[in-house]
Symmetry: C2
Subunit: 197 residues, 2 copies
DNA sequence: ACGTATAGGGTACGGTTGTACCAACTAATC
DNA sequence: GATTAGTTGGTACAACCGTACCCTATACGT
């Protein structure tokens, strides 16, 4: 293992530690010292690999987005049928397991923070929903072309509603107001109505 | 004005100042000193009326919930028709004006915080969505009885989806990903499909 | 082989936080 | 009118934050 690889590996370890702290104790608990302790390294080492907290945060956020993309890509592998693709996307938007829970809590926390912190708002991790909306709309249009979805529906509007519903249910699950199973059942029902089997 | 009233009025002023700080600069900016400055009083005065920051926070949160309830009640005055009642509720769930924006930012911020802070999670300000769900489901059932909504739909499920969609759109508006107008248009379209005019 | 960049640890500093303490003033009560 | 409770202010303190600085050891390039 080369030095550069080792360095990158260390940086990933530390970013991973940040996400663990974030997912279990919340954004307010994410301090340089807490991350260092979680990673099992000294405070100075965190500083050594990331000059400032902001850089560490943005690195971890980018990593989170990449992991999410990979998770989705893995789930989408092997199928191109709109119904299955959309079900995978909607499933991923509900924090069902611990990994997904951490992801959603971290993403939501930083998104809320970005509302009043323009330095964070400028970064492109908030662009994902826009891209997702267009993607989902495209799949719905494809389903219409295939004759699997009613022709009088607007794919863009249905995509917006589908994603907003998934986001709302995801937050409710995160907040403990609803369990993941029932949220998933509701979403699947929604999809089944749009694209009957 | 009696002394007790004056005291209560002061407490309200301070809680209001907290909500202003929260709504404009975010949860992280809510410090005892910032609230005192916003209210135009000394730090000690805030301590005098609220022993700890936690008590101040919970008081402000309760006040927020009451204001929301009053806003809704005012909007609901004069009508009992399910369609209009539901439109009022859904409209209120989109942060269109500044007051509503502050409310939603504050509520969302504390809700996210409550995910990892069990002291906050124990308090009942998170119970509102449950009550709202039952209420909306009741109105939908009433619309069914009136013959204004398709009989093969489940009022509870439709209520869940409607509120989740509204919540998801509300967050998107708050985050600046969507403007309030289009979010409201989408919601009204949803309602119109459920209960045609 | 040797100088040097990198990895690593410990500690210090300035700033901010919530909270506590002490003094002065006001107004109601006896 | 004296006293007492309530109101306001200024300041202090311990804890925590992000960051900076100083000191080794290890491993690489020449």
């Amino acid at each position: 293992m080369s030095r550069a690889d080792n360095r990158e590996s260390r940086r990933n370890d530390i970013a991973e530690a940040l996400l663990r702290v974030m997912g279990t104790r919340g954004l307010h608990a994410v301090t340089m010292r807490a991350v260092a302790a979680e990673a099992g390294v000294s405070l100075h080492l965190v500083q050594h690999y990331f000059d400032t907290k902001e850089q560490l945060t943005l690195f971890a956020l980018r990593r989170l987005a990449e992991q999410m993309a990979e998770r989705l890509k893995a789930k989408l592998a092997g199928t191109h049928r709109p119904r299955e693709v959309l079900e995978a996307i909607l499933t991923e938007s509900i924090p069902a397991d611990e990994r997904s829970r951490t992801f959603h809590l971290a993403y939501t926390s930083y998104a809320v923070l970005a509302v009043t912190d323009e330095a964070l708002a400028a970064h492109p991790f908030l662009a994902a929903p826009d891209a997702m909306e267009s993607f989902v709309a495209g799949r719905l249009a494809q389903a219409q072309d295939d004759g699997d979805m009613a022709a009088d529906l607007d794919p863009r509007t249905e995509a917006i509603v589908l994603l907003a519903t998934a986001a709302g249910l995801g937050i409710a699950v995160l907040a403990g107001q609803r369990d993941a199973e029932s949220a998933l059942a509701v979403l699947r029902g929604r999809l089944a109505r749009l694209i009957p089997a």
